[in-house]
């Protein structure tokens, strides 16, 4: 049952082969057994999960279950959960029991999901390895000496180790796609504006977007469909009808299900920098796509190399503004000893934030300060437009873009801990997608030389979620990379 897909779990719940309470207990027991080593969860909410499961069972008995009623999940700890500790991976919020639910959490509660707890993450979603978490890093289930990726590393590790069938995440520069790739699962970041940011603790607001993790594109489609929808409390939420992403996937697969699909391969993504084992797995996956009927065409994203520098101006600038709310007055950590008000602010923030968060706040403060705004912030925003225009030009020649999700497989814990710039460069293929606001998906494409998973990234035009999910689903119907499990899943 722990390996079952969401449609299989749905059938089992509806047929009363298992109750929602039994299903929740199954996963809670796995968390008890495996989380001490994997550290994928910061908070496990057994009591809340069982209460939600009992409610789900009542709903199933009443015949009013929806697609996700009774399905257990993990929420990234970036999402506020009423009555449950919400830390965002930070000492700053280590005492914050949220008085309200994020919009995403409300939607998924209403859908009848059963939250098992809160998944580990890089502090305030700033990091690519999960090592900036105040609670220590989550570990990669395929090799616990390796990082699970970040910032949504706990969510990805939980799904990969089957501590939860699905999980929520957030993606500002690759924080869903990169850990999905490193942990051998599927993850999607939708078009900016589809998932409400209300109650999702802000890092860089023009880039932050909620996303979904699952073992397959089909599971991601079901979760994402339940997370999206207009929310007037988010000023950038899009007023669009919601889409039933899973419905398009349900059609039977013809022999060549991707006939006519044109896949663009950005020359810059296949240049130097990609490790040989990643290249081999990605090339083999692309051959499989061609066997399914797709054609590939070379495209170009000439400004893609500028995505990282532009991101490390825009994201810190927005972070320095967003994180000014943590002042030790209304919520969060306050220093024990202080003199005047300025001293209280300075000490509370010095104690509450970790090193990487402080660095990004300082970079952002500098680039927004008097005299530097034009040279840094405006220049980065101009590059952002060039990067977005590159994607639009490339998408004139193809229906979606494919390439590696990451340049290498998961690195060793501690390997880049003292070199932030080196770690930033590992997000080279994912960051441009956030700057443009496009949807991106990562799915398992095989394994590297060290037995660690490799991810293939698919990028689509705005609102092309169905196309991305369908392409990945057809790939997964013809292959079994997504069905491989790490050793801790017996």
């Amino acid at each position: 049952m722990i390996n079952a897909s969401l449609p299989e779990l749905r059938r089992a719940l509806d047929a009363r082969q298992i109750s929602a309470v039994e299903l929740a207990s199954l996963f809670l027991d796995r968390i008890d057994a495996l989380n001490p080593e994997l550290n994928a969860f910061i908070t496990v909410d057994r009591e809340g999960a069982l209460a939600a499961a009992r409610a789900a069972d009542a709903r199933i008995a009443a015949g009013s279950a929806g697609p996700l009623t009774g399905i257990p999940l993990a929420h990234k700890d970036v999402f506020c959960t009423e009555g449950v500790l919400t830390t965002c991976g930070s000492k700053m919020l280590s005492n914050f029991v949220s008085p309200y639910d994020a919009h995403v959490v409300s939607l998924l509660k209403a859908a009848g999901t059963v939250s098992l707890g809160k998944a580990n993450m890089d502090e305030f979603a700033m990091g690519s390895s999960n090592e900036s978490s105040y609670y220590g890093p989550a570990r990669n289930p395929w090799n616990t000496q390796r990082i699970p990726g970040g910032s949504s590393g706990g969510s990805a590790a939980a799904v990969a180790a089957r501590l939860a069938p699905i999980a929520t995440g957030s993606d500002t520069g690759g924080s869903v796609r990169q850990p999905a790739a490193y942990c051998g699962i599927t993850g999607i970041k939708p078009t900016y504006g589809l998932v409400s940011r209300w109650g999702m603790i802000a890092y860089a607001s023009s880039l932050d977007q909620g996303g979904a993790f699952g073992a397959s594109a089909e599971d991601c489609a079901l979760l994402l469909a339940a997370m999206t929808g207009f929310d007037e409390r988010d000023s950038t939420s899009l007023e669009r009808p919601t889409e039933d992403y899973a419905a398009a996937l349900a059609a039977p697969a013809p022999a060549r299900p991707l006939e006519g699909l044109r896949i663009g391969l950005p020359r810059e993504f296949f240049a130097e920098g990609m490790a040989d084992d990643v290249r081999a797995a990605v090339e083999a996956a692309l051959s499989q796509y061609r066997a399914l009927g797709a054609t590939t065409v070379e495209v170009s994203l000439p400004n893609a190399r500028l995505a990282i520098p532009a991101y490390y101006v825009i994201a810190p600038a927005e972070c320095s503004s967003n994180l000014s709310r943590f002042d030790g007055v209304r919520y969060g950590h306050r220093a024990a000893d202080y003199g005047d008000l300025a001293d209280m602010y300075g000490k509370s923030r010095a104690e509450g934030f970790g090193a990487e968060v402080k660095r990004r706040i300082l970079v952002g403060t500098y680039v927004l300060s008097h005299g530097y705004y034009d040279a840094y912030y405006l220049q980065a925003q101009r590059l952002r437009r060039l990067i977005a225009q590159d994607f639009q030009a490339a998408l004139q020649h193809c229906d979606l873009i494919a390439g590696p999700t990451t340049p290498t497989t998961a690195w060793a814990l501690g390997e880049m801990a003292d070199d932030p710039v080196q770690m930033y460069l590992s997000d080279i293929y994912t960051i441009a997608v956030n700057l443009a606001g496009l949807p991106g998906l990562s799915h398992p494409a095989g394994f590297g030389a060290d037995g660690l998973p490799v991810g293939l990234q698919l990028i689509g035009d705005y609102f092309a979620e169905t196309r991305l999910l369908n392409a990945a689903h057809r790939f997964q119907q013809a292959t079994d990379w997504h069905a491989r499990r790490p050793g801790c899943v017996a």
Partner: protein, 95 residues
């Protein structure tokens, strides 16, 4: 570009983050590494390119000027470090 300790101290004060003298050197070295990365932007001529602040071309939504939230002050103040009589307490600012 290379930041001095004085500049880093100034930014830290603006950001309201206390930095000890020992932290200053290490922080400056890391920040200079990050700015080394960021400087790559300056080589690009972006004359005439409109800055892009946001992925979607959105106009700010307007709503009626009416109260939509309920009073949940007690719940919100439960997570505050120090409150009294519905007020947030901070060190005295005005003598």
């Amino acid at each position: 570009m290379s930041l001095s300790n004085e500049q880093v101290g100034h930014i830290a004060r603006l950001a309201r983050i206390a930095l000890s003298d020992t932290e200053l050197d290490a922080t400056r070295a890391k920040l200079n590494g990050i700015f080394g990365l960021i400087e790559q932007m300056q080589a690009v001529d972006t004359t005439g390119v409109e800055p892009m602040s946001h992925p979607q071309e959105l106009a700010t939504r307007l709503r009626a000027d009416v109260v939509t939230e309920t009073d949940r002050r007690d719940a919100f103040q439960q997570v505050a470090p120090q409150t009294e009589a519905g007020l947030y307490l901070v060190p005295k600012v005005i003598e």
